[in-house]
């Protein structure tokens, strides 16, 4: 199990206002390389995202995602290879099914399915990676902090 400590998922910049914290599980063979390429090309993308390097999206256990949400993360992006392009043939297709089930659970418990998204990229698609990251950051920013996030809990404590 990947251990995500509070400090690792801490708010990216202390601007005084709430900033979403997002984890991107990136497949080694595509999205991680795309993120790397984006870095090499000096492309800017929001600092709200922490990347977790995974061997294949099919290897991401449902518990990894639920663990991140329980620890208060506001959103999770799972980035795998283009469909048909998985290094392990169908890991990304399995991941898509797992993510579908996770989204149902997140909706059912009140966290919200929109906070979890899967995207498909190739290693060369650095601009697409940046776009997908910007999209999820905007989606989650519009949703506000996760109901399990420490900032939401502080807010509600302040109100009562």
């Amino acid at each position: 199990m990947i251990q995500l400590e509070r400090e690792e998922i801490a708010a990216p910049v202390s601007t005084g206002r709430w900033e979403p914290r997002i984890i991107a599980f990136c497949c080694n063979y595509c999205a991680y390389a795309a993120a790397d390429l984006a870095g090499s090309k000096r492309m800017q993308y929001p600092a709200n995202v922490r990347i977790v390097h995974t061997p294949c999206t099919g290897k991401i256990e449902m518990e990894h995602i639920l663990d991140a949400f329980e620890k208060g993360i506001d959103g999770v992006l799972v980035a795998g290879c283009l469909e048909g392009g998985c290094h392990f043939l169908e890991g990304n297709l399995r991941a898509r099914q797992h993510i579908g089930r996770m989204r149902e659970i997140l909706d059912e418990i009140g966290v919200g399915a929109e906070r979890l998204k899967m995207v498909n990229l190739s290693a060369a698609m650095a601009p697409a990676f940046v776009e997908r990251v910007e999209e999820i950051v905007e989606t989650v920013r519009a949703l506000g902090p996760s109901p399990l996030s420490p900032s939401r809990r502080k807010e509600s404590a302040g109100k009562s």
Binding site: E61, L66, E70, E108, I109
Partner: protein, 222 residues
């Protein structure tokens, strides 16, 4: 094996609503194989229920353990210690497992996390089908190893009903006509003459229609 399916997170959460300290118990046998109540499923359900309770402002103290078999006292011993600390137990075993835990821990509420479905086999990845009803008087020899008692929607013992189309049962849902399967099978093992015999009405008393069943094998008693 016994095939079960999980209850929804909401149902599970409602079952344990009055309790604060709860033990989730997985079973390492049938329900692990059918991906319903093994260590992984207990872990996922634990996360989901714990988060749901946290959002409701009623945090749950949840521990989890998966024992080898819930239907045997010998293995239930392994969970005695965490069970003692819990207000309630949720069993991810089949109906037999739930009842075995309830008998073993008379002072604790024990709730089921699964809906026990049937005796079946794995057809393909994540697809299980029912193969045995546990009728207590096996007739498989007469039908080439395909059970019409279980697999014919009308439980017919003397040939098909006439409602099947293109080898499919008229009940639908993509299930094959059991009698078509029986015919094909008997033909392939050269025993089609078995179909000439009239099968008398089945005695259902050894089945669950009689009463709860019990087996005592004196030769193995100690």
């Amino acid at each position: 094996m016994i095939v079960a399916s999980p209850k929804s997170v909401t149902e599970l959460k409602n079952l344990i609503a009055p309790h604060r300290k709860v033990l989730f118990v997985g079973c390492g046998t049938c329900v692990t194989v059918c991906l319903a109540g093994g260590e992984r499923e207990v872990g996922i359900a634990s996360y989901a229920v714990r988060m749901a309770r946290k959002i409701e402002g009623k945090p749950l103290e949840l521990t989890q353990i998966t024992i080898e078999r819930q239907c045997e006292n010998e293995f239930i011993k392994d969970m005695a210690e965490p069970a003692a600390k819990a207000d309630a137990i949720v069993s991810f075993g089949c109906g037999a497992g739930v009842q075995a835990l309830a008998e073993r821990f008379p002072g604790k509420p024990v709730y089921p996390a699964l809906n026990t479905q049937f005796l079946g086999i794995l057809e393909e990845q994540a697809v299980w089908t029912e193969k045995c009803l546990g009728c207590g008087d096996c007739m498989l020899a007469e039908f080439g190893g395909i059970c019409p008692v279980t697999r014919c929607a009308k439980r017919l013992l003397n040939g098909p009903c006439g409602g099947s189309t293109e080898k499919q049962c008229e009940v639908g849902d993509g299930r094959p006509c059991a009698w078509q399967l029986i015919y094909n099978r008997l033909k392939s093992i050269d025993q089609l003459d078995r179909l000439d015999a009239i099968v008398p009405p089945k005695d259902w008393s050894p089945s669950w229609h009689g009463s709860p069943r019990k087996i005592v094998r004196e030769e193995h008693r100690v």
